[in-house]
Amino acid sequence: MGAERVRRLGELALPGLAIGVTGGLIAGGLSLLAGQPPGWALASMLTLAIPMGLIGGGYSLLMAYGIFRPGVFATGGLYWFVGFPVSRLIQEAGSSTIIYGAPHLREDVLSFLAYQALVSLGFAIGFVWLHERLTPSWLMRVQHRNPDAQRLLAKYVQHAELLWRGQEQRRAARGARSKGAR
């Protein structure tokens, strides 16, 4: 895969990657301010930010290749139903291995995964919500140099047209209003 291809893919993956990494940063970045040992905070942050960033980036790529569609929550919900527990498992096992030398979970694996899967629905709502808000403006910035971004942006535009196809009617209505408002 050439450098150009990697750059294009990276640009497509960026919105989901950024949201996923932000979720991970929440776990550890600010905890430095709470006076915890920097090593612990860093371990907690990286072990969540990396998997969540990768899975978030994967979501954006799946959207770019037409597997997920803009404006739909269900697919994002299912995606994170698996992705979120996996990320948390990596974090719990990874950070405890780094800090204590052996993987450790607070409860048995099944209960842990079941709980994380349920909480994932909440995370998915926030993720999809932010993704829908951030992606179109990012694609607008990179479309001139990335044909894949241009194609994905076209899908968003098509979706927006579907959502607001009444826009023309409203404009016409506003024109008529200036005559008959008073």
Binding site: I19, T22, G23, I26, A27, G28, L30, S31, L33, A34, G35, Q36, W40, A41, A43, S44, L48, G71, V72, F73, F84, R88, S95, S96, I99, R106, E107, S111, F112, A114, Y115, L118, V119, S120, L121, G122, F123, I125, G126, F127, V128, W129, L130, E132, R133, L134, L162, L163, W164, R165, G166, Q169, R170, A173, R174, A176, R177, S178, A181, R182
Partner: protein
């Protein structure tokens, strides 16, 4: 009302819309503090009352939307059509209840814990920023929807991650199953100490006070239904570009089947908003915060004692401390960060909504006000509340003078009963028959009026205490 064409409805399944305002206003101290507190005091079974409160609010939201989408008028205008003093009651109540910057002081106190910046300084800067940003915006609605969407998205993602890290299966299961213990009322709940707290918490489940009424203004500015025929409110800097505001709303032809089909599309759209975005997100955040509070109480018995004692700031700090001492799941600062974020969301939403509502009523019903553009009136109220807020933060009590706190709490809950009555009157007398609410909807809204007013007066006469 003049007849105009109803625009086509967007597809019902959508992710972003005017409900973001209601969520921003609704997800506040009720969700982050009051309900977690009740769960620690009376057990998760008490949450059935939250379920009732939020579900009732979702139906209220749908009925508020009915009038606003059918006419492009706010519910205040509808109230004035029924009985003008009713509208003036809401006008005065809004000033009495919402000019106090108390919602900001709690958030900024949390911010002080993180950064060390005195809360008065950050609160004053926050207020000035709100005034400047809304004055510079071209179309205020668009700016606010973008801003609040990102803030609420961050809030939902963040609280989910925190709940995932500090809670466990048992916490979540008890929180969720607690919602279905319909009728559960422990002995202590029916006391002079706790009954008013429970009533207040139900009133604060989701949007409280007049927030639902303001939603009709946001719905109109988003161009939903007949709101498409009304110009948008602009920031002060772009006020000159504002189109002439019509002196009344518009109605569509309800005898035309094609128009009625579009109306059904709009109802599906707003129902999706009410169920998934409003009900779902509000429920989600409160479940997450309850799980977080249960985890904090488990880690530190001190938290439970402080929460029971009712000192909000001490409780939130203790919850943060309990996470900060829990090994690798160090989230105390982040928790406080989200409390600050909630305060910020509430300030942005409340100040805009207050100014929007007062400007709307002033423009249409104060003689001579039509000489000014709506945007100027909006800016007048916005800067009025910002300057008053700064003066109060510096020199006065942030929640309002102690002597009138009871009156403000009373007015806030009374307004909720009053708007249920207003909704029944407006939707059943001002709208054409084909689009009036169904009987079951009227029954639920009627139940809401009895519920809010009944509990308010029961608390007052039985225990001699106003809600808190």
């Amino acid at each position: 009302m003049p007849i105009r064409e109803l625009p086509d409805a967007p597809p019902s399944v959508h992710l972003l819309g005017p409900t973001v305002f209601l969520v921003a206003l609704g997800v506040g101290m009720g969700e982050s503090y009051l309900w977690p507190r009740l769960v620690l005091l009376f057990g998760p079974e008490i949450r059935w009352l939250f379920l009732v409160g939020v579900t009732l609010q979702a139906v209220v939201m749908l009925e508020m939307a009915r009038y606003a989408m059918a006419t492009g008028e706010s519910i205040f205008f509808g109230a004035a059509r029924v009985f003008k003093p009713l509208m003036w009651f809401f006008f005065i109540t809004a000033i009495a209840v919402y000019i106090w910057p108390g919602h900001l002081s709690a958030g900024m106190a949390a911010f002080e814990q993180i950064t060390g910046i005195p809360w008065q300084v950050s609160a004053c800067i926050g207020l000035l920023l709100v005034g400047v940003v809304f004055s510079l915006a071209k179309v205020i609605y668009n700016l606010l929807e973008n801003l609040l969407s990102v803030l609420i998205g961050a809030l939902v993602v963040g609280t989910s991650v925190i709940a995932a890290m500090v809670g466990n299966w048992a916490d979540l299961a008890s929180t969720v199953t607690g919602m279905f213990h319909i009728g559960y009322l422990p002995e202590g709940a029916m006391s002079a100490t706790w009954f008013p707290v429970i009533v207040g918490s139900i009133a604060f489940a989701g949007p409280s006070g007049m927030q639902q009424m303001w939603y009709t203004l946001h719905l109109r500015d988003s161009g939903a239904g007949m709101g498409a025929h009304i110009p948008k409110v602009r920031g002060l800097r772009h006020a000159g570009e504002e189109e002439q505001m019509p002196s009344r709303g518009f109605m569509f032809d309800t005898s035309n089947p094609a128009e009625m089909a579009k109306w059904k599309g709009w109802r599906r759209w707003v129902t999706f908003d009410a169920l998934l975005l409003f009900w779902g997100v509000t429920m989600l955040v409160t479940v997450a915060f309850t799980v977080i509070a249960q985890a904090a109480a488990r880690q530190s018995p001190n938290v439970k004692a402080l929460i029971e004692a009712g000192d909000r700031e001490a409780s939130l700090n203790a919850m943060a401390d309990s996470f900060a001492s829990a090994g690798s799941s160090v989230l105390g600062v982040v928790f406080l960060g989200f409390i600050a974020l909630i305060g910020m969301n509430a300030t942005l939403g409340l100040f805009d909504s207050f100014s929007r509502g007062q400007a709307d009523m002033t423009y249409h019903f104060v003689p001579g006000a039509k000489k000014f553009r709506m945007s100027y009136l909006y800016a007048g109220f916005l800067w009025g509340v910002v300057i008053f807020g700064i003066l109060i933060l510096l020199f006065g009590p942030a929640d309002g003078p102690a002597g009138i706190l009871d009156t403000l709490a009373f007015l806030s809950t009374f307004a909720m009963g009053a708007y249920c009555v207003t909704l029944l009157l407006v939707n059943n007398t001002m709208l054409p028959k084909p689009i009036r609410p169904k009987i079951w909807t009227n029954l639920i809204i009627g139940f809401g009026a009895v519920f809010y007013l009944g509990m308010l007066f029961y608390s007052l006469f039985r225990f001699g205490v106003i809600v808190n």
